[in-house]
């Protein structure tokens, strides 16, 4: 029936609809009137009677038109969908006949879109993704006090009195909370089953500031979080409840043995809630309970000089950040104006989402750079795909011309071509999702391995965005061959065959290739520079053999152990570990590189002023410490068991300190006054070992024997770390060392053992170079692969275009070398142009990125020469196959024309 309708041209168009209705009604009236007139009425009477019989003609006509227009619209929709379906099926068949082409396009799209989705996911996770169960995270701000001339947020930790003052006096804040700046690892249980509880120590107002509701039970109240000692209550996370307590429905009221006490579980947080932290949190404890009970620090709530914890606030609805900053600054100036963290600083409030990335060691600058590179790679991928589609379109010119001759409209043809591109884009997009998912997981494992429970990089929002990008790419790429088709004269192509090419097209293609080569150079050069920075930083001599030395620590202070106990425990641990086969040396110390610092003042008798350098720091160590770290003293001797309480006070100083204090003579044997202990004799000089940062100017370090510390004295430094150097592979020894220490003395809390290179601080400091090097490297490789594919395609096409010309040359006596040079020469020329442009852009832009590099200049010649060489080699390889085809040309066939 539908076909009949087509041929008899039933109404398809709105005008046709109206005309058809009119025609039908006119026929009806003619017939009625004919009948009436035949019965004897006059014409006029007949017409009147006919109209009477019909009823309201005008409204009837409107109704009929409405019904029919609706039917027409419905039918058109249905037909369009049918058509689209058949277009897709036809496109799928076409792809099956050209699997190589389809594979290359799908791979290109998958890698280009997938790489972008991964980068988007990373940026989103670090900067934009709202934390689970936190309402309106844009209204939550972090307090910081920055120095006027220095970039960055400045001081981000404060103390309890500051929190109280802000809570009471700043009206722009609806809630204020204080929270530990990173999760505290509190001992959970003792002995062989000891674990660590990743806990946040927070004020009761933390939950109100976050705007979160408990999943079970409740959060602690202000009366439970009251000075001076809070209640022993704890809120656990959903993950902890599942993992450790098996989702016990009677969890409320159960107790946990945290540090030295018994704490009652009063609530469970909703699943996925981690508050302001990015990684997993096991529990939240009231700050007054932890500081009052666990740390037994009576005046903790009045200490206004220290800086320990983050302060967050939720802005009142309607309050702006600027007005809140002003109020906060006034309040702080009034009560804390002379404190070091307020004086001369600018009080800033930053939305909490903006602070998380930088606090993980990934600055906004780096994420911006990486995102831009991702977009560039996507553009390269799209232009490549467009090029491939255009080339394929040219090959199908004959087929398209035949279709047009058979009566297919241009619009229909364009729709068919777009269906093809869309199909390729959809398949490519699907593959891109897989690529992004895998790449996201890999990136997370490589870059954020020390943060447990980090949310996946790629989530639903990124999937949706990827899908949208895929569809846009499909439509855009399909538009190019579509435009190609709408050029008027295709009749000529049916006759002239492949020889026509269009100089205009060729120029555009060549330009695109040059641009792709240039972009590859930029990306690979960046990768090379960041890679060298990373290598430089990783292999710097930081004073400890980070990849081969372990350290062990446990939280004894919160277990109620005295410093004397700590010394005994660590001595026992040291003896146990030294007895293990596979351990070369172990020694305990108060602190280790990247651990806490203790500042002191040192004086030399007879000298009034001393060069202060970057500060003087103290460490209490056991004999063998430097050997355990994997270094050797520069002069003098290490401590021995003979250096203990009662014998002459001795010290070892760092090389920088020795050189500054006694530049022309040896420091060994000299007298120093450390913290008012008269005449401590220097017995050795140690190499400069890092204190906290991998990139750091040397500080003055004074080492004293742990055995010479008086455990009863208030500032006594007791052992808190054990440094272990295995004789073989460090990773293999971690578990055995841990077990040896855990059971060295009964009732010990969880012992953490790790390599120095796995230290979270170290990893965080290395992260930005690792991220940059990995991302630029991967993007550079992708860009290069795509450029190679593009080059291959264009070279093949060019050879096909010039078959005739090559045939002529061969017939005239040109040798293979000449022909080969013709093809390869063109490829190299394009690449050289790209390299030149890319190098220039890199050099110009590199100056701005110089601050991100380390140990390598932004114009490092080695990197650029290597990148150029790689590109030229790739260009030659890409043109090998077309060259071979050119060499195989049969001059007779070529001259004959087809």
């Amino acid at each position: 029936m539908r076909r009949f309708r087509r041929l008899f041209r039933l109404a398809d168009h709105p005008n046709d609809v109206n005309r058809a209705v009119d025609d039908e009604l006119r026929f009806h009236f003619e017939m009625t009137m004919r009948e009436l007139v035949a019965r004897g009425m006059s014409e006029d009477a007949a017409r009147r009677e006919a109209e009477r019989r019909f009823g309201d003609v005008t409204s009837a006509r409107e109704r009929l038109r409405a019904i029919d227009s609706g039917a027409v619209r419905h039918r058109r929709w249905y037909d369009a969908i049918q058509e689209f379906g058949s277009d897709l099926r036809y496109a799928a068949r076409g792809m099956r006949h050209a699997p190589g082409f389809a594979a290359v396009v799908v791979a290109t799209l998958a890698l280009g879109i997938g790489a972008n989705a991964t980068v988007l996911g990373l940026v989103d996770q670090l900067l934009y993704r709202p934390p689970a169960h936190v309402s309106d995270p844009d209204r939550i701000v972090l307090l910081s006090a920055s120095m006027p001339n220095l970039p960055g947020l400045g001081q981000q930790t404060f103390n309890y009195p500051v929190y109280k003052a802000l809570g009471e006096d700043v009206h722009a804040f609806e809630h204020v909370a204080i929270a530990s700046s990173s999760p505290e690892l509190l001992p959970l249980g003792v002995g062989a089953n000891a674990r660590n509880l990743r806990s946040m120590v927070v004020s009761f107002s933390y939950f109100a500031t976050m705007g979160v509701k408990p999943a079970r039970g409740r959060f602690f109240t202000s009366s439970e979080d009251a000075v001076p000692v809070g209640a022993a209550v704890v809120v656990i996370s959903d993950a902890f409840w599942a993992r450790e307590l098996g989702r016990d429905p009677n969890v409320l009221g159960r107790t946990l043995d945290i540090a030295n006490g018994r704490w009652t579980i009063i609530g469970v947080a909703p699943p996925g809630f981690t508050g302001t932290e990015m990684g997993e949190v096991d529990a939240w404890l009231p700050i007054s309970a932890v500081l009052g009970r666990v740390r037994s620090w009576p005046d903790w709530y009045t200490a206004a000089d220290g800086s320990f914890d983050h302060i967050f606030a939720r802005l009142r609805p309607g309050a702006t950040i600027v007005s809140a900053e002003g109020e906060a600054a006034r309040v702080l100036d009034a009560s804390f104006g002379d404190k070091w963290y307020v004086k001369g600083r600018r009080i800033q409030l930053t939305p909490m989402l903006r602070t998380r990335g930088p606090n993980l060691g990934v600055s906004r600058g780096v994420t911006l750079l990486v995102s831009i590179m991702g977009v560039i790679v996507l553009l390269i991928a799209c232009t490549n795909v467009a090029n491939l589609l255009v080339a394929r379109g040219l090959r199908r010119r004959g087929e398209i011309a035949v279709r047009l001759a058979l009566g297919v409209t241009r619009g229909r043809l364009v729709r068919m071509l777009m269906a093809e591109s869309l199909l390729l884009a959809l398949v490519g997009g699907g593959a891109a999702v897989v690529v992004a998912w895998w790449a996201g997981a890999a990136l997370q494992a490589i870059l954020f391995s020390e943060i447990p429970g980090l949310q996946g990089i790629v989530d639903l929002r990124i999937f949706a965005l990827t899908a949208a990008v895929t569809v846009c790419v499909g439509l855009a790429a399909g538009a190019v061959p579509g435009l190609q088709v709408s050029r008027p004269d295709l009749a000529g192509t049916l006759k002239s065959g492949v020889r026509e090419g269009g100089g205009h097209h060729a120029r555009t293609r060549t330009m695109l290739l040059v641009v792709q080569a240039a972009l590859s150079v930029i990306l690979l050069a960046s990768a090379g520079l960041f890679g060298r920075s990373l290598i430089n930083v990783s292999h710097m001599d930081i004073g400890v053999d980070a990849g081969h030395v372990l350290y062990a620590t446990m939280n004894l202070g919160v277990m109620g152990r005295t410093p004397a106990d700590e010394d005994v425990i660590f001595a026992a641990a040291r003896d146990r570990v030294n007895a293990l086969p596979g351990v070369a040396q172990a020694a305990q110390a108060w602190t280790i590189p990247f651990g806490p610092s203790y500042g002191v003042s040192a004086k030399i008798p007879g000298r009034d002023s001393l060069p202060s350098g970057n500060g003087t720091f103290l460490n209490a160590i056991a004999p063998g410490y430097f050997d355990a770290l994997g270094t050797r003293l520069v002069a003098g001797r290490d401590f021995t068991r003979a250096d203990r309480r009662g014998t002459a006070p001795v010290a070892i100083i760092s090389k920088a300190m020795a050189r500054a204090l006694w530049p022309d003579e040896t420091a060994v044997g000299k007298c120093m006054t450390v913290n008012d202990v008269p005449c401590t004799r220097v017995v050795g000089v140690a190499p400069d070992i890092r204190r906290q940062q991998i990139i750091e100017d040397p500080v003055f370090f004074v080492y004293v024997p742990v055995a010479q510390m008086d455990p009863a004295a208030p500032e006594a430094l007791s052992a808190k770390y054990l440094v272990i150097r295995p004789s073989g592979d460090a990773d293999a020894m971690v578990e055995s060392v841990r077990r040896a220490i855990q059971t060295a003395v009964p009732g010990l809390p969880y012992v953490t053992v790790r390599k120095f290179s796995d230290d979270p601080d170290v990893l965080e400091q290395l992260r930005r170079w690792r991220l940059s090097a990995i991302c630029f490297g991967v993007f550079g490789a992708l860009a290069l692969a795509m450029a190679a594919v593009g080059l291959f395609g264009v070279m093949s096409y060019n050879v096909t275009q010039r078959l005739h010309e090559i045939g002529v040359r061969v017939a005239l006596g040109a040798r293979s070398g000449r022909i080969a040079r013709l093809v390869i020469g063109q490829a190299v020329a394009i690449t050289a142009a790209g390299v030149a442009i890319g190098a220039v852009v890199s050099l110009v832009g590199g100056r701005f990125a110089a601050s991100l590099l380390y140990g390598v200049s932004w114009y490092d010649p080695l990197v650029f020469v290597c990148v150029a060489a790689v590109l030229v080699v790739v260009a030659i390889v890409a043109s090998l196959l077309p060259t071979r085809r050119a060499l195989r040309v049969d001059p007779v066939a070529a001259l004959r024309g087809e």
């Binding site: 029936m1 039933l10 009806h28 019989r53």
Partner: protein
């Protein structure tokens, strides 16, 4: 005709049209004449409503329409039943007959 009776007529009108067309394809005027003749002019159908019903049923797929030439060589729109229309006619006439019998039985009691 007052509206209430017209509404009742709508479903019945569709039935009459379908029955008319079960005799073969006809144009709108022919359908009107056939109904008038077959009912012996007892039912006066408003022709506007008739055409509306024809177009509605065509849109629903119960009828198929095509343009053709009438006896006097004029262009006219002819309607015919589709298989769906035939099935609809069967169902609805059964329902209507049952309905009429039920009403009749009630009315017959006294």
């Amino acid at each position: 005709m007052p509206n209430a009776e017209l509404d009742l007529l709508q479903g019945t009108l569709d039935l009459l049209i379908l029955k008319a067309l079960s005799w073969g394809h006809m144009h709108g005027y022919a359908v009107a004449r056939w109904i008038a003749q077959t009912t012996g002019d007892e039912l006066q159908i408003e022709e506007g409503a008739l055409y509306t019903a024809l177009h509605r049923m065509e849109r629903r797929g119960l009828l198929a329409a095509e343009w053709g030439l009438s006896d006097n060589n004029r262009r006219a729109k002819y309607y015919a039943l589709t298989p769906a229309g035939r099935a609809h006619l069967r169902r609805k006439s059964e329902t209507w007959s049952r309905y009429a019998r039920a009403v009749f039985r009630v009315l017959q009691t006294g």
